[in-house]
Every structure is written in C-alpha cells, then in structure tokens.
Symmetry: C2
Subunit: 346 residues, 2 copies
C-alpha cells in the first residue's frame, strides 16, 4: 500500500471493476479449468465429455432483501432459485448445493426453520441435493451464502463470450415483472409504516409479486433448448436488468448489438402497473432486474426452432463490435444502450 | 410455526444441533453423493476411481476475527488455509476455491487488495485456482465466504465415521499454540486500548502468534501419509479444540476412546506462555482451538509407520462405545472428556 495516495472508496470503483481488480493477479493452476472468473459460473472438465460448473452468491439483509416484506420461506426459495439460474445460464443442470448462514441472535430457531423450508422446497423443485454448509453467529442481520454445482456436456456448455456477428438475440419469458412487484411491495411497506392497521393492497398484483418474491429459475428452458437441438452461442441470466446483461454479453463476446425495444416481451400486469406508477414500461423492461429469465444468442440456422416457440422472443441481433450497442425504439430511433442496473434505477 | 409455543433462541440450541435440525428434512437426490452433511466435507463420486470433496466456511468480523489485531493479508491467508484444512481432513487434495465477500463501505479498495494478497499467497502455497466468487455491499463489517473443492481416490477418502475398536488415535504437529497466541494478542490489544502509544510486546511469542494469525493447513501430512502407505480409518481437523474433535469423531464412528493427556504434543513456547498466563497447559492443549492439525485414527497394523515419524504423536486408542470417552491424566485418573470448545473457553 502506498500511504501517500488517498485510499479509494469501494463505491468509486464499482462492483464489477472491483472483482476484476481484486482477482487479476490470480492465475489458473489447473488445465481442467475451462471457464474461469467472469462468467455466470466457472467450468471444470470432469472428463472428456462432462464439465462441472460452479457458481456462488451472497444474499445480505438490507442489501438484497428486506425481511419486512420478504417472508423467510420465500427468501430461502429465492436464494436457491437465483443460484440455479446461474447454472442454467451455462446451459447446465444444477445438482448439488451448499448453504451457509451467518445470523444474529434476533432470529429465532423457528425463523431459520422457515428459511430452510423454502430452501428445501426449491431443492425439491429443482432436484438438487444439499451437501453442506456452515452456520455461524453474526453481529448483524442475516447473510446467506450459497454455492451451487452443476454439469453439462462439454459440447453444450454456453459461455457469455460466444456471440458472433449476425447471431440473433433471444430472451425467455417476459421482463420487468419482478421490478414492478418490488415497487408494489415498497409502496405497501410505506403505507404499513404510516399506519400498521391498514392491510396491504396486493390484489391484482399476484403475478408481479410472485415474480419478485418467488422467482423461478428457467431450468425448463434448458430442457426445451436441448429438445429443440439448439445450443446457444452465448448466454447469461437476467438478474441485473436486460440492458446491463446485453452489455455484459457483448463485452465478453466482443461484439455489437441492435436491440429492438418493441420486441421485448412484457406481461400486461407489468405494463399496467408501470403506467399506474407513472413509469415508462419500456424503461422498466430494459432496466428492471431480478426476472431471472435467460438471455442468449443463437446462430441464424436455429431461427426456425426458436421463432415459433411461445417461450422465446427474438429481440435483436448481434453486429460487429465497431457498430456499437444500440437500443432501437418504435420510431426507429437508435440510442446507445446504457445500463442503469436495477439498484440505481430504484 | 406453532405460535402457541415460545420461540426458541439460537443460543439455546447450539451450532451443531442447529445444523442437524435445519438440514434433517433434506434427502440426497443423487446416488453419486457418498459423503453428505456432517463431515469436514461432502463427497461426490466423479467416476469409479475419484471422489470430489467440497466444503464451505464463513468468517465473520467480530465473531471469527478482530481486524484490530488481525492484518487483512493474514486474514485472507487464514481464510484459505482453514478451508484447505477441511479438505485435508478428508485425506484429499484441494484444487479449486471460490471466495465471496460482503463488505461495508468503511473498507477501502486498498484494504480489500491486502485481503486478496493474502488469499493469493495461500492459493500459491497450496496450489489452488480461484474460480469465482461474489462481491457485495454489506451494512456492517466484513464477511468472507469460501467454498473449496478437492479430490481424492475413492479407496483413500477418510471420513469421521470409520474409527473402530482398538484403532490408535494420532495427532499431527502440536496443540494449544494458536489459543495462547490469541491470549497474547488480546492482552496487547487491551494495553493498546489503554495507551495507544505503547508498542505491543510480541517478542518471544513469534511461534504462537504465527499459529494464530497464519495457520498452515497440513497438506504435507496428507502427502506423508500417502508416502507411508497409511490410510487413516477416520480423520477430522482440529479447529474447535482437541476434546471437541475427539467427541465428534467418536460420535460419528460410534466408538469410545481413551485419551492420554500427557501424550498430547505441545511446543515449549505454548507451555511457558500458558504458565505465564496462569493457565493449565493440559487444559489449553485439550480445549484451545484453531491449531488446524489433523486428528486421525489408524489400524494397529500401521503403528510401525506412524510411531517413528516425528510429525505424529499417538495420544490414545479407540474403545467400544459402551466404554465411554475418557481423558486419562498423568496420575492415571480417568475423567469423562468434555468439550468446552475454544469460544466458550475464551
């Protein structure tokens, strides 16, 4: 450390640059490591045919969840589901998980049982075995750390870096719902804080609240792609927001992209709620995070298999890196794509 | 949840019972899972010959470390080393690691670089590749979560549960040093708090402070055992204290044990410092934790290979479960072994 220089704040560097900076000195010591730091998961060759993928995630109280409107059972389910989503993003199938918790004494044993009931439900849903974990005291709140393993055939592993010029950009499901669900929950929390006797008004918002509180990793999409015989050229899961993920994918693949805003799939409840909140649905679909859908690119030869399938929407195409990354709106106006990220958007 | 019953506090249940209770409903869904929850690491069959082992650990500021006397570089090193130790305890070799941190804004980028310099040094020392991690904001302090992978031949994997009647109980290295190092550091912290101008007096305590601040996982012991052709019948690493680990091992193996107190190896600096602190060295060797030595049992046929080796001390023998678990002192008095654990001991 050079004490002549003022110390840098973490917030000045940003999360993604910080990881890059801290892990730069590390060299792989193992030739079987085929995907290293920087993708949704790392990949380790098990033999000539199979690759093991591994990913890890923190969920911190007050940062990633608010126990005031996030029931612990839902939190447990979500914690597993978002990790399964990272494994799906490698075109892989999750099989093993470790769950560690650091917890303050304000939590009761019964509260932790609720959390583990949610973890158990997700393990059942996604056919995952819990193989270990650590449970420790903490001075503050609840922190959950999950590490997940999965496997995939070597010929099918899908990284962020494989997109190439003329590929099509595809997304599963619909976007923006989880973000609008969060807005509804935040509003009701404020109402509750002002007057605890008022019951929260959540009727009519069931779909988007479900998207926020109980996101489902799109393991089914991996199965469908496999059945269709489609191996995406690149893939990432939509956790931080579509715009942010497109930028990650293009950066890793060293390509450009044209995204057609009007093609982004949205549920009518998401659109209506956005309008009620005076938010632009297009902005919500671009920057609202936590939908845990899969964003991927396919070779032109696979377009027939994808375009007729109701699970998928083709929302753009890949261009040369020099062409840049653009969002093209209904009027045909092209604007350079920027990532607000859902946290800053909030 | 039955709201008629008063909620139970975590402290009433205890860490080990809590893990057992929370994970009881989970069933393995994968036949390749050969070691599940409850050992130093889980074991997953990779093929007919190899088993992958996986372990995970939390390090929480204010619970597992005190940044006032634990330099961040040392903390990074220790975080990796204690995880390697868990892999060693399976008779396996660590190869891959993920490191996640949740960190408050009081930490600078430079501080995190120090932490990662220590992590890097340990990865170099133990030939481990960093394959991923998560970096996130936290409202309080620093929490580190590490997951480590390793591998071992199926015929050599060593669980806690394999000890049998007449086996010999063996420990590597010497015990109690890390605990006495902690006592010295705590004392100097109090002196410093009273008068920040006084330099800490650490001279003459180099070995025990090193044991506390920079514990070395006994990867070398795994190599030596392999060279000697000895496969322990059971093994555990000494993280919580010898007494506690013996009880874990006997419980998992459903056996009893006679431990001969005078056989427990201690360094002279540890003994002298214990006496200076008015502590009984025998108690320190039994209950002082964080030495990260390996405690294992061997079949009688291997005694020749072990007893002449300076790295090992034979400290007792395994008995039938009905005979109980006893500590036998110099005078030949047998006392039922109790685990104080190093935290409660403190």
């Amino acid at each position: 450390m050079d004490h002549q220089q003022p110390l840098r704040k973490i917030s000045e560097v940003g999360e993604f640059s910080l990881i890059e900076e801290l892990t730069r000195p590390f060299q792989s010591k193992h030739s079987e490591l085929v995907v290293g730091i920087g993708d949704d998961a790392a990949g380790i060759c098990l033999d000539d045919e199979l690759v093991q993928v591994i990913s890890t995630d923190f969920l911190v109280e007050g940062v990633h969840f608010d126990p005031m409107y996030m029931p612990l059972k839902h939190l447990g389910y979500k914690a597993v589901s978002v990790n399964v989503s990272d494994i799906c993003a490698m075109n892989a199938t999750a099989n093993f998980i470790t769950v560690s918790i650091a917890v303050s004494s304000k939590y009761s044993v019964e509260a932790l049982e609720e959390l583990y009931a949610g973890i158990h439900a997700a393990c059942e849903k996604f056919s995952i075995s819990l193989v270990g974990g650590d449970t420790t005291a903490a001075p503050f709140g609840l922190t959950i750390s999950i590490t997940i393993l999965g496997k995939v055939e070597k010929t099918k592993i899908t990284k962020r870096s494989g997109a190439k010029n003329f590929d099509l950009l595809v997304v599963s499901g619909d976007l923006g719902g989880a973000y609008m669900g969060l807005q509804v929950l935040e509003r009701e929390k404020e109402v509750f804080k002002a007057n605890p006797k008022i019951q929260p008004e959540l009727e009519g918002f069931d779909y988007i609240i479900q998207r926020q509180l109980k996101p489902e990793a799109r393991k089914d999409i991996i199965t469908i792609l496999n059945q269709l015989g489609v191996v995406p050229t690149s893939m990432i899961d939509v956790s931080d927001g579509l715009a942010s993920e497109i930028l990650h994918l293009c950066k890793a693949s060293q390509v450009g992209c044209h995204l057609y805003g009007e093609k982004i799939p949205m549920d009518t409840q998401t659109i209506q709620t956005a309008l009620d909140f005076d938010l632009d649905p297009a902005t919500v679909s671009l920057n609202g995070g936590e939908d845990y859908e899969l964003l991927f690119t396919i070779d032109q030869k696979d377009v027939g298999n994808i375009q007729s399938n109701p699970h998928f929407a083709i929302i753009g195409h890949i261009t040369d890196a020099n062409d840049g990354i653009y969002h093209i709106d209904k009027q045909g106006t092209a604007v350079a794509l920027k990532a607000q990220g859902w946290k800053h958007f909030n």
